[in-house]
Amino acid sequence: MASEKITSSGNKRIAMLKVLNPFHIWALGVGIVLVGEFMGWNFTVGKGGAYASLIACWVIGLLYTCVAMIDSEVTSTVAAAGGQYTQAKHIIGPLMAFNVGLYLVMAYTMLCAADALVVGDLMKSGAEVMGYANLDTKPFVVLTVAFLAWLNYRGVFATLTLNLVITFLAFMSLIVLFFAVDPLHQGVVLQHQALLTDLPYGWIGVIAALQFGMWYYLGIEGTCQAAEEVRSAGRSIPLGTMGGMMTLLVAATITWFVATGLMPWQYLGQAVTPMYDAATLLGSSQLQLMLFVATAFAAIASANGCINDASRAWFSPARDRYMPVFFGAIHPKYRTPYRSVLFLVPIAISFAFTGLLDQVITFSILSGLLGYTFMTFNMIKFRKMWPLGSIHRGYIHPFHPIPAITLLTLCCATYFATFLGYGASLLSIMAFYILASIWFVLRRYKYVKRADQFTMPWPRPKGY
């Protein structure tokens, strides 16, 4: 046992390891999201029919393409953990940064809880198929969170390499399913001509579907949380994020095409595991098993990415003293924000034990949506403060400010859609963040060392 504590010598500082490449970034982004193609997206069908789901798929796809482009440009200049929190701190100000940090932590922690619940439910379904009813899901929920937290605690490379493998396998299962339904010959397996109807609830159903359309892509923006751990943030983050977005657009469209060609919208709109159901309808036990395993892989990859992102989103504000500074520590051996990883474990398990998958997911979606709304103002201000040429950008998104304006417009439409379905949740979540903001201004900001939080080697912004 060491008799004396090891301290920093001279000006030496600890830092996270820069070991990730664009494939890890792809795995982080797509891994968090892909579970949404296996379940959840189909509630868009329940809201407005099959065509409404396709419109939501592409309209929300446009929203997330804007998110990915904006994120890629800003993050290619901010090689720091915390993602949008760090962007807000540098570009907007401390109150926005605090709120964005909180959105991120809540969004990812709750999504992790929901993913763990899904793993537990899958275990229960598997046990029922094998003749054992009433399997207790709690131990498997806890095991999922504990194992992934342990992996995250011990290093980011292994964590995201696991994500790369299982996310790729889950994605490939969708491709296999696509070819299994003989997509080029309508009427053989797929029955789109018989099953696709007009919009059952009209255009208001299409608007309502936008909220659940977020399931197709929610979490892709999490790629920028790894900016401090990639070998070249300016290259890897844009490559991984935009590649991930393209993957998701393909996966979402395939998912819609296969499911709506096999199941009537009335059933599909309320199915719990639509892709597994699709495999069941094809009558192949191998496909059934593959989709069962792929759904579990997708849920585990999502929970894994969420723990990674939530811990960075908690660590980064803590490092700046926006949150208790205790959580701003890095493990000297594994180089991970280990206290933040540990701190979030009981919170994720507590949310999962409520069993309220609906509410947990709604909180997660709304927190994400608030973050996307912020990004529009952030982007406009970023280009004004640091115009093109004033700072090195690894990626420059085209047609500015059209993506920012499009993003804001689509966010407003999605708020309206959420209000239609979950008005009370929307208002209570807004109230939560307003109360948290008041606490930050009155009680927390006095602990922030204002000069210490800006250590990026950026030039002075225009006009300052």
Binding site: A2, I6, R13, K18, P139, A149, I330, P332, T455
Partner: protein, 60 residues
């Protein structure tokens, strides 16, 4: 069935082992390293940053 009951116990046990391992390790790190060092990271700057593990055996 016996198998599923055993699986439940295995899941609880593995969870407990991993959670306890992390808590114990976190306490050990706190006792071995100075807090200032553990919290010395800064965003964005590459200079004088320690990558790798050689500081573990380093001396004050």
């Amino acid at each position: 069935m016996e198998f599923w009951n055993i699986l439940v116990y295995v899941a609880w046990s593995l969870s407990a082992v991993m959670l306890v391992w992390m808590v114990v390790d976190a306490f050990m790190i706190s006792s071995q390293y100075d807090e200032e060092y553990l919290m010395s990271s800064r965003e964005g700057s590459e200079d004088e940053v320690v990558h790798g593990i050689h500081l573990e055996e380093g001396s004050p």
